[in-house]
Subunit: 585 residues, 2 copies
């Protein structure tokens, strides 16, 4: 296992730099020196810290020193973000940073140092000669480093080292050859927006403490509803912590719409409710039903065709069956872009059935929603405008940093009625501004993270046409992959036909298996191929792609492309890598 | 209303800089120039962009130009984060940034530019001469700027302007005089950690894609359980998106522990369940009960004493009452640090009752949990070690950036049994590493934001003793405030006695009301005082503090101190400001 230089984690106080017993000496002198004006203070500090640092420069095999490339700064700008600012972080602690007296200079230098580490990581993330992952087993990572939390503080040099080490073992999710999840890529404007969000460090519950973000959420949700096709973008919605929670909201609101008394009386006061979704739908529907006291047995899984699309006739049959038993169908959740196959349920047919039986129609477009941005591909979601609610995760196909998931609701006011508790310490009714912007009481959460700004800023930077171009390109790449492997020796497609989304599902069949009859033994051996190749991929760190079994189909690769960095060459590389790692199996 | 220079939002293409019709010209030339080695390319680009920018420099009344302080860079470092890098952002778009070919240089310059904006904001946040808030009414903010999302992209200069404008109207939640919420302050190490989290852009569901973060969550939750007092730190837990969700988890798990069949069968299969919490507890208990299909009527609010502490005898009485009706008490949620009074329920007495009647004991220590870090104050949570589950939000009293909320559970494995759905596309059972680190299936969420790193890094930087010092200081400041106002003319305390947490609740009584008898008219007028002062505070932007009514008590101020930047002088300032703004009412 590759490991950084020994002593890495105890670097600051054992490498001979400065005086670990008395870290405050240079700092104390510097604080005095800072009282001089005209840049003299800075120069004196630079001298003090600079001299103290010199011995450390000769310590040989250490990882690149965060401090080593600095020279004295005397720019005296406010704020000085000059990378020349000279600081020896081994002498500094968190208590020296703002809001400490004289904390401005070390703070700016420290944050700039962190930023340099992050920028190096960003550049590396896009470099194909860098590994996607430097894999270590959990026990290795746990045992080789001291991650424990202690009573005593560490100095800022150690803190900077922790940042470097954390990134060393991180998965480069922006790497052009990272295809492992539905959320891939690292958008630079989205990243900048997320840094800003962290810096603003506020909460979405009231306009009072998040005025701009609340307005941007309003504007952005309205735009998304317009794109869905609801007249004038009217309706409601919220950014929630992920698609599973968005789907749970839909179920919660659908139940409340039909039986508002459930809020006070609970499930005991209502008949048995039944939800319907396809057998290929996301597991969060069942998870939500379990949590909401509906129970997983009351989620009926509707059969899919060979492409993974819900079969409307089976839906109608199961609705009738439930009604005959005296149960109450209250929700159909159709999927636009299933997790594994990328299938789009026939939304128009589902909408007709929901209308006929007066059932809330939800569309889980967590993965497929992005296609609404593409004039070429949005037909796949025809009928979404007839939904009562839609889950749409811009953090998936639209490349917004994690997390950014929206739940859109056609009827305005329902979320508020369903969830409000009128907490008088937050939602005072005698505030001096328009209270309709205090959106917190329609949420399940109390405090809520600002997830909207990264989407809003990316949308400004790319325009709708920029998202469209990204989506069209990813779908084109998926088709390219499909065309390569559909007739290639050693590959079998899990289902026939061109991909509807970017999901391409296939088996790689190593030469030793190609000669076998299609029997139990072959299936058993085939089921072990993808996990073996995946393990080798992670150990070599060259690329990452997901696999899973589904129904009676043994482990197969599910390739998905949402990564803006991926090119045709990266698709070629993936195929070559699968063959390189799997040919001897 | 103060507003930035006119044309602010349409700055890039209308100020005469460069050629808006043909933004790609300089870029295209620069891309050619970049093929030269030895820094020549950079110099050529600098010349190209530099020349193009000159006309804009003379455009007078514009806001400070993001680009204006730059001079040519020829350092040729990789990555070059040199602030001298000369770029005219009006010529650049998101498509010029990584992963674009030759995107490295503009990316580093752009991100550095964003960072400069953020650093300026950070410095301002701690400057007492800066306003806490530059308040505008929602319709003003909505109408004066064009926040709408469009088809076409904007250039990066406009994007940088949006960042500046967003921060201009943001609440400075780190400002020393911001006391409005339980979460205040801006920790520099926490901020750095959150920037890193954004840059790593991954998801907590599997070790596969978040190895370090999953391990840090394991280490941190274990440490928190040790501090709670569970033997060896054993047990379970998760970081969830806020205290309300953490409390909902507790209710969900308590129900599952007693009636595991509820997962499949729903609430129809179980008797009527009753939860108990105090009348001063957080509204999320009722919100959770509504969502989980238990119903708000099944949450019994137990009476509190005059200090806001739950009265154990009333709890026992209500439990017996519920049992007599044939209902099943399944959860008592005691509060350690109530939202308004900062009261600590008597946990030992509650624990005895829970033991006697075999009821799950939850402690909502979202606000009070931080006191466990203080040897001086942790006695207030005596008995928390007997809880079955604890909510503890480090983003409140411990100053971790939003969001960071933990739910700790004493029994290991229960969360997993309660929530798992075995999604085979994520939690493959044939992976090559120890699957116990794939923690995603115990969550309600599927994708889950990385909330642990900021807490972990802050803990490393401050040590437990650093958190302790912060907490002791905040409580000392609260006592200082209490001592100032308890006998000061014009102040009435909402309850007697020293504060147990940092909550200090009081009425300010303007001179005109001091002469009135304590009758309906006085109460009616008093109820309008706090909202009026608060509105004036926000309009003048000098400080922010919360107010609310509670029970039969009309609007009063609830001062809370969790802000590490606050000093005695800031407390003095608050009092003076209340008097300045309220004396004529």
């Amino acid at each position: 296992m590759a490991s950084p230089g020994s002593g890495f984690w105890s670097f600051g106080s054992e490498d001979g730099s400065g005086d670990p017993e008395n870290p405050g000496t240079a700092r104390a002198w510097c604080q005095v020196a800072q009282k001089f004006t005209g840049g003299i203070g800075n120069k004196l500090c630079a001298l003090l810290y600079g001299d103290a640092e010199k011995p450390a420069e000769s310590s040989g095999s250490q990882p690149p020193r965060a401090t080593s490339r600095k020279a004295a700064c005397s720019c005296n700008q406010k704020p000085c973000s000059c990378p020349k600012a000279e600081v020896n972080y081994a002498f500094l602690h968190a208590t020296d940073l703002l809001p400490a007296c004289d904390g401005e200079r070390p703070t700016l230098a420290f944050l700039q140092e962190v930023m340099d580490i992050l920028l190096q990581y960003v550049v590396k993330s896009f470099d194909r000669s860098t590994k996607v992952i430097d894999f270590h087993y959990p026990n290795e990572l746990l045992q080789e480093y001291n991650w424990e939390l202690a009573d005593q503080p560490q100095n800022l040099e150690e803190i900077l080292m922790h940042c470097q080490t954390t990134l060393k073992y991180a998965i480069k999710t922006g790497h052009p050859r990272y295809f492992n999840q539905l959320s891939t890529g690292l958008d630079m404007v989205g990243l900048a927006a997320d840094w800003l969000t962290s810096t603003a460090n506020t909460n979405m519950f009231t306009y009072e403490i998040a005025p701009v973000f609340v307005l941007l959420e309003y504007v952005t949700l309205k735009k998304m509803r317009e794109i869905i096709g609801w007249p004038g973008g009217s309706g409601d919605g919220i950014f929630s912590p992920g698609g599973a929670i968005s789907n749970m909201y839909a179920m919660l609101i659908a139940r409340f719409k039909m039986f508002p008394e459930v809020k006070e009386k609970g499930m005991a006061a209502v008949p048995r409710l039944i939800a319907f979704t396809s057998e290929h739908s996301h597991f969060s529907l069942k998870k939500g039903a379990a949590a909401l006291g509906i129970g997983t047995d009351s989620v009926i899984l509707i059969k899919c065709d060979e492409r993974g699309k819900m079969i409307p006739s089976d839906l109608e049959r199961r609705i009738l069956e439930a009604k005959q038993k005296g149960f109450v169908p209250f929700l159909v959740s159709a999927t636009a872009g299933t997790t594994v196959y990328g299938a789009f349920d026939p939304l128009l047919a589902v909408a007709d059935i929901c209308k006929k039986y007066k059932i809330w129609m939800h569309v889980d477009a967590a993965w497929g929603g992005g296609l609404l941005m593409s004039r070429k591909h949005k037909w796949k979601l025809s009928g979404v405008e007839r939904a009562n609610s839609v889950t749409w995760n811009p953090h998936k196909m639209m490349g917004v940093p994690l997390q950014c998931s929206a739940l859109l609701v056609r009827e305005e006011g329902l979320m508020q009625s369903c969830n409000q508790m009128h907490a008088s310490y937050l939602f005072q009714q005698d505030k001096h501004y328009d209270l309709s912007y205090d959106t917190g009481d329609k949420a399940l959460q109390c405090g809520r993270h600002v997830d909207v700004f990264k989407l809003w800023l990316m949308w400004r930077a790319k325009g709708t046409i920029g998202f469209e171009a990204h989506i069209d390109k990813c779908l084109e790449l998926a088709e390219y992959l499909y065309n390569i492997i559909k007739n290639r020796e050693g590959y079998e497609m899990v289902f026939d036909g061109k991909p509807q989304h970017t999901n391409v599902c296939f088996w790689y069949v190593p030469p030793s298996l190609r000669v076998l009859d299609n029997n139990e033994e072959r299936l058993s051996r085939l089921s072990k191929v993808a996990p073996m190749i995946k393990a080798r991929m992670m150990e070599s760190g060259t690329t990452m792609v997901s696999y899973q079994p589904l129904g009676d189909k043994v482990n197969f690769f599910r390739m998905v492309i949402s990564n803006p960095a991926a090119t045709h060459q990266d698709i070629d590389f993936l195929i070559e890598e699968i063959e390189r790692l799997g040919q001897d199996l």
